[in-house]
């Protein structure tokens, strides 16, 4: 319904503009009756109105425009000649159309405007008869009802006319905003030069900065009047900033509206059957960002049609609906707009991408082994990488995903891809709402202040030194904090930026971990102190500082000092290996069992003093399972965990050893375990003891036992490397297959969960 309203509003605005033109054209025609150019212009205008009114089911408007068009066609084709009578009739037609438009605008209906007379008059001219025109003065209803002549006594003439358009009306961001006393559609929206808006936005940004500075100074002065004035300034500046920002917002529909055609044409050309679904088209975005997203979005959509969705035959053979679905979804998510392009096509095979990457020399075969499938997919974003076997005119023109990534990152966004072979691919664009002003957190580290966008911030954890030394596990260079059971890799800002504390400076007795999320990965940034949240205006950096890659820009804080804005994304990327902890893909277990260089391992203890290492990137969480929550289902064990039933494997049984010492499972209340999740499914691996987390080791011998892929010397102890895939299969033989889900569901039913 709203959509419809918007279309009607647009139609009204456009038609009013055209009608004004029409008036002057018709008048000019009288002077120059033979001008084909003028006639053609008039004809086009009426034609457009006729077409749209038919589409919007405004039948009276359509009938008037229809006969008018006929008359104009004759005139244009020279079958009739303009006479003053013709002009009269046409002008009357214009008046009637205008009256109809007013009526539609006011009451959404054409009722109350009589059109029969005008239609009859035009027909008469068409038939070469003398038209009977109703006297213009009596045509009250046909004249735009904008000025009901005030029938007030002369003395009161000076009183303000109520209907006068309010000059200080709110800047309407949409034409469809008739607030109370509705201004006519023409007055409610105007066209404004984009440049003007841009400079307004810039100035609003500077105003916010100046406000911040004034607020800070004023706070120290304790002057009551000044404080009050500052409050007002604060409010006005905030509101103004918001309003100005809104003038630049546009619904993402503006981009999407072109896609059905793109998908249809491309689909036809390639013989694909595709259903395009769109959700959240009214999500608004800064128009400059919208512009920047246009090409990447189109590219991904074309790519999905070309490489993602299979031909109907292939789909049928694979047991899928032969009509592929391409789904676009846009939504606000934590201060960002997320745009998803999801297809149910063939997916992207990491093996193919990997092979291609090796072939192109982007990675060595050995290195490839140690990468998770998700890492492998990231090769798609490298320059010059194109998987199209042959160059088609659809995609694979050398403009690849690297350009998409560059363009999206340039506007402070990110793009990632997930894919399941045979099931489809999801591309996810994260775009900031606006570039000009960003809510940020200011922190202090080694005496300096840094700002970071709040978008990335999940929570703050404050630790005193004593608790810190216990809570932060610092082993083999890998620092982790156990946040409610989940492992959070840590980055010390001090180390990441190589900050030097002055020799005389005291070490902070208290640290703060800012828990950040970036590209779907969580990590903790350790700083000395959190200062404030502030709205900052991002200022560009000189090339030499940009090149460092740790800063997203600079800003001027409330006290007038410059502060660098941390590039959280690249900090995370530079400091961590790309496979995060909460970030394990299904087949990862198969390929990552071999330790790659720098890979991190979770060392667990089993009975008989055995040590087994599990790659950390397949560890989703560390848990303690209550013994009482472990139950037997048939020959297997399961555990109740967060309202779910997880299949469970006891590592000591799986690897064919006894459990530790004489303690039987019944004697302990809880056992430590590792939870591994992928694609919404999880298994639990129960161990006797969690020992350590260490950086990867290369020393490896070939001792190979059932369930192990080898062993290494870690911290002077022989440690076996777990074959994770085998362990997972021991817990859930169908973990990697389709049936597993059903089996789990059944097990859940039996247990009444």
């Amino acid at each position: 319904m709203d959509d419809m309203d918007e279309i009607v509003q647009e139609f009204l605005v456009e038609s009013y503009e055209n009608l004004d033109q029409l008036d002057s054209d018709l008048v000019a025609l009288e002077q120059e009756p033979g001008s084909r150019e003028l006639l053609a212009s008039v004809f086009r205008t009426i034609h457009t109105i006729k077409g749209t009114s038919g589409f919007l089911a405004f039948s009276r408007l359509e009938s008037v425009a229809h006969v008018g068009e006929n008359l104009l066609a004759r005139l244009r084709d020279g079958q009739l000649v303009m006479t003053p009578v013709t002009t009269d009739v046409l002008l009357r037609m214009v008046d009637t159309i205008r009256a109809l438009l007013s009526s539609i605008e006011a009451s959404h209906s054409e009722d109350g405007v009589e059109v029969a007379e005008v239609v009859a008059a035009i027909r008469a001219v068409l038939d070469g008869e003398q038209p009977v025109l109703p006297p213009a003065a009596g045509a009250g209803a046909e004249v735009p009802a904008e000025e009901p002549a005030p029938a007030a006594p002369a003395v009161e003439v000076a009183a303000p006319v109520e209907e006068a358009p309010a000059p200080a009306g709110p800047p309407a961001d949409k034409p469809a905003a008739p607030a109370g006393e509705k201004a006519s559609a023409v007055e409610a929206s105007i066209r404004v030069d984009v440049e003007l808006l841009e400079s307004l936005v810039r100035q609003a940004g500077e105003l916010v900065l100046a406000r911040n500075q004034i607020l800070q100074r004023a706070g120290a002065l304790r002057d009551e009047d000044l404080t009050r004035a500052c409050h007002r300034l604060n409010l006005v500046a905030s509101e103004m900033q918001e309003t100005v920002m809104r003038t630049r917002m546009q619904a993402i529909d503006h981009l999407w509206s072109k896609l059905p055609r793109v998908v249809r044409d491309l689909g036809n050309m390639l013989g694909r059957k595709i259903k395009l679904e769109m959700e959240g088209g009214d999500t608004e975005l800064d128009r400059t960002l919208l512009e920047a997203v246009k090409d990447p979005l189109t590219h991904i959509v074309r790519n999905a049609v070309d490489h993602g969705i299979e031909s109907p035959e292939v789909r049928r053979a694979a047991g899928k609906n032969e009509v592929g679905t391409l789904k676009l979804r846009a939504a606000h998510e934590g201060g960002q707009v997320v745009v998803e392009i999801r297809d149910d096509g063939k997916g992207i095979d990491p093996a193919v991408i990997g092979a291609k990457a090796v072939e192109k020399g982007l990675v060595t075969a050995a290195k490839l082994e140690s990468l998770t499938p998700n890492d492998v997919l990231q090769f798609l974003f490298l320059p010059g990488f194109s998987t199209a076997a042959k160059v088609t005119n659809v995609s694979g023109r050398g403009v690849g995903m690297d350009v998409v990534k560059t363009n999206i990152e340039r506007i402070g966004g990110s793009v990632d891809v997930e894919s399941v072979v045979g099931h489809g691919t999801v591309w996810r664009l994260r775009i900031p709402l606006t570039l000009a002003i960003v809510p940020a957190l200011t922190v202090e580290c080694a005496g300096q202040r840094y700002a970071m966008p709040q978008v990335n911030l999940l929570e703050l954890v404050s630790l005193d030194t004593e608790r810190m030394s216990k809570a932060i596990e610092d082993v083999g260079g890998a620092k982790v904090y156990r946040l409610r059971g989940a492992l959070l890799p840590l980055i010390r800002l001090e180390e990441a930026l190589e900050l030097k504390r002055p020799a005389e400076a005291e070490m902070p007795t208290n640290l703060v971990i800012a828990v950040l999320e970036c590209d779907g990965r969580r990590f903790g940034l350790v700083v000395d102190r959190v200062l404030d949240t502030e709205e900052i205006v991002v200022k560009p950096l000189s090339g030499v500082l940009k090149a460092i890659g740790s800063y997203a820009g600079a800003t001027i804080l409330g006290d007038g000092r410059v502060s660098l804005i941390l590039d959280v994304q690249s900090l995370a990327r530079r400091t961590m290996r790309s496979d995060g902890i909460e970030h394990a893909a299904a087949a990862a277990a198969a390929t990552t069992a071999a330790t790659g260089e720098g890979q991190r391992l979770l060392v667990v203890g089993l009975g008989d003093n055995r040590r087994v290492a599990i790659p950390l990137d397949v560890v989703t969480r560390l848990e303690e399972f209550k013994t009482e929550s472990i139950e037997r289902v048939g020959r297997r064990e399961v555990v109740r965990y967060r309202g779910e039933i997880l299949p469970l494997v006891r590592l000591s049984h799986h690897l064919g050893g006894g459990s530790r010492g004489a303690r039987s499972a019944g004697e302990v209340d809880a056992v430590p375990g590792v939870v591994y999740s992928a694609r919404g499914r999880s298994v639990a691996i129960v161990v006797d003891e969690i020992v350590d987390i260490v950086a990867g080791q290369d020393a490896r011998s070939d001792i190979d036992d059932a369930g192990l892929v080898g062993s290494a010397v870690i911290r002077d102890r022989v440690t076996e490397l777990l074959d994770v895939r085998a362990a997972i299969l021991a817990a859930d033989p169908n973990f990697f297959t389709e049936q597993a889900q059903n089996e789990l569901a059944e097990a859940s039913k039996r247990l009444g969960v």
């Binding site: 930026l497 900050l499 410059v562």
Partner: protein
């Protein structure tokens, strides 16, 4: 013919930058350090709402650091698309130098100075070294390592 130079002092030398390149001259400004930046980058200053990178010319030219406690003056110059501030010891006046007295860098100069000097004017009482601003602002890895 002659050219106008804005002059400044650095470790006892007299330097000049073409007047048209100089936007303004400021006293010591609070600077925000930029960790990980090349050593010659002295930080960022707030120039009326604009963030400007400061270049420590002593470091850039391979001279010893300014004595502790001595303030640095800012010579704000325009480069291609950016505005930079050059940190110098003290500001001299504007000098009109006769082109006829211009010579290539004297042989007595060596090291980074020689690289970043376009030449010298023999003034009556001193030698005016003309700084190649654009070259001085090309700071990449080489200087970062210095």
């Amino acid at each position: 013919m002659s050219t106008q130079y804005a002059t400044f002092h650095l470790a006892g030398h007299l330097f000049g930058v073409e007047v048209r390149r100089v936007q303004e001259v400021l006293t010591e400004q609070p600077r925000t350090p930029a960790p990980l930046a090349p050593r010659a980058v002295a930080g960022l200053i707030n120039l009326r709402g604009q963030v400007v990178t400061a270049l420590d010319l002593r470091r850039r030219l391979g001279m010893p650091d300014r004595e502790e406690g001595k303030v640095a003056m800012n010579v704000v110059v325009r480069a291609a698309e950016e505005v930079w501030s050059l940190l110098v010891d003290s500001i001299g006046g504007v000098i009109e130098a006769a082109d006829a007295t211009f010579e290539p860098p004297p042989d007595t100069l060596s090291g980074p100075i020689r690289e970043l000097i376009r030449g010298a004017y023999k003034l009556d009482d001193a030698l005016l070294l003309v700084l190649d601003v654009d070259k001085a602002l090309e700071i990449e890895g080489a200087v970062a390592a210095a």
